[in-house]
């Protein structure tokens, strides 16, 4: 599988409204680190949503991790999502579950044993410096801490592709640094493809990356 994401001529809209994204095309190879930037309301989150199947394109073709989105069945979409690690803008942590249980979610869905789930959750929570808050609930954490838990959850099952929607938006510099280091580490040590939607690309990242700029629903590759 040369390309992890292969999109061509995508038109995406919410319901019957005007398309948010028009004629978008991109090709992302395995182990690439990709940024999509753009102004607020330009459709960055819409692109991410279409990549994990929360929104479906009206026109064009989309292939993620070798799975074609045309007439995709519910079970096939479920299977694809198990290979993705998604970091949502609003974290999407389960309020009635502890930090540990939240991080274990993709592993539980993947059918791993309890021992493996616990070991991996502890390892990742140590990476995001939240091991001491393992038994806390999301509402007991700050915004930055919640985002770090969401990041740990996205990495828990060693996904093929990480999709991060504004992972450092509104975070303090410490939490931002932890998150960028984790994303970099995933690419460098695990060979994971990373696609990040953000306002600003950090100047101190220190790795090669591909950059797409989104303007008025049109996607441009920045050379």
């Amino acid at each position: 599988m040369e390309y992890v994401i292969k999109a061509s001529g995508l038109n995406i809209s919410y319901g019957r409204d005007e398309p948010i994204i028009t004629d978008a095309s991109m090709q992302i190879k395995a182990q690439e680190f990709v940024f999509i930037t753009g102004k607020s309301g330009s459709g960055k989150s819409t692109i991410i949503k279409s990549l994990y199947g929360e929104l479906f394109p009206n026109h064009g073709s989309l292939n993620v991790c070798g799975v074609d989105f045309k007439n995709i069945s519910s079970s096939k979409l479920n299977l694809l999502r198990r290979y993705l690690g998604v970091v949502f803008q609003d974290y999407k942590l389960i309020d009635e579950w502890t930090v540990e249980q939240n991080v274990m979610l993709p592993l539980i869905i993947g059918g791993f044993s309890k021992g493996v789930c616990t070991k991996q959750a502890h390892k990742l929570l140590k990476h995001v410096k939240l091991l001491h808050k393992i038994n806390k609930y999301p509402y007991e954490l700050s915004g930055g801490e919640q985002q770090r838990v969401a990041m740990a959850r996205a990495l828990a099952h060693n996904p093929v592709l990480i999709l991060a929607d504004e992972p450092t938006g509104n975070l303090d510099s410490y939490s931002s640094e932890v998150i960028w280091n984790l994303l970099k580490g995933a690419k460098e040590h695990l060979g994971t493809t990373v696609l990040v939607v953000t306002h600003n690309i950090p100047s101190t990242l220190g790795i090669d990356y591909k950059h797409y700029f989104l303007e008025s629903g049109v996607l441009h590759e920045v050379s």
Binding site: S75, N78, R82, L84, V86, K92, D95, W97, L105, I109
Partner: protein
């Protein structure tokens, strides 16, 4: 705390449902038992100049269960001191035969009248006493009781449906976020609903066991037995196999149906 209240809301709903359902059954059974008792006590008295044959009577009136002759010996014994033995012998020959007709079920007023006319149509029968007034009163009382039971059952069913819909709305609200997040991470239908299925099954089972225990123990309590004896009613014992099985089955069915509706409602994200 939220989890405890969630458990209680399911348990109480199921408990109310099952308790009312079984209560309707119990009242129905008591009324039926009482009706049988009334039928056993009720009889039509027939005066006939000739002997009556049960088979022939049953051909004309199928609801007759049995026919028995009322002995005239008691009346004759009473007159023994006032009459000569010769006159007594003559009276014994001239005296008609008295019969008591028992029916299989309680007939309504119209049917009693039809039976009366059919009997009067027979040449040997000279008089009939149907005790229509007393019978009618009792019949109407039983009918009223049965109607009340059905009205009660209707309201229970109505409240049960409302409770189910309320519970479905609560569950949809409570579990929407968790199930949506699980869907985004690729959880299958059963995986994301498993927690809800497990919780409702355990709670429903617990509630049905409590209802079964209540209906098993209550009829054996002294207070209940005294009360039943005062009213001359029999409280049937709780059949753990049939009635208990029905209650447990109904509660499981209720929970499975309700959870499936919730999971389908939340659907695909």
């Amino acid at each position: 705390m939220r989890s405890v209240s969630s458990h209680f809301s399911i348990m109480i709903s199921v408990f109310v449902l099952l308790f009312s359902f079984q209560f309707t059954n119990l009242i129905k059974s008591i009324v039926n038992d009482y009706a049988t008792k009334v039928v056993n006590d009720y009889a039509i008295v027939v005066v006939s100049s000739n002997e009556l044959k049960e088979d022939e009577l049953k051909k004309q009136i199928p609801e007759i269960e049995s026919i028995s002759e009322i002995s005239s010996k008691k009346i004759l014994d009473r007159l023994k001191n006032d009459m000569s033995s010769k006159n007594l012998a003559l009276l014994q020959v001239a005296l008609p035969k008295f019969y008591s007709l028992k029916l299989e079920s309680i007939p309504n007023k119209k049917r009693v009248e039809t039976i009366k006319q059919k009997l009067l149509g027979m040449t040997s029968i000279t008089r009939i006493e149907t005790f229509a007034k007393t019978h009618e009163k009792m019949f109407k009382m039983l009918q009223l009781l049965q109607t009340m039971v059905y009205i009660f059952a209707f309201f229970v069913a109505f409240v049960a449906i409302l409770l189910i819909f309320k519970q479905i709305r609560i569950w949809t609200y409570e579990h929407h976020r968790r199930m949506s997040i699980m869907t985004l991470f690729g959880a299958s239908f059963f995986m994301k609903s498993a927690m809800l299925y497990r919780m409702t099954l355990v709670d429903s089972l617990f509630s049905s066991i409590v209802v079964c225990a209540l209906y098993t123990i209550a009829p054996q309590m002294g207070v209940v037995q005294t009360f039943a004896a005062e009213l001359d009613i029999v409280i049937p014992p709780f059949d753990l196999l049939v009635e208990g099985g029905t209650l447990i089955g109904a509660s499981i069915l209720f929970s499975l149906l309700a959870v499936t509706i919730v999971a389908r409602k939340i659907g695909r994200v």
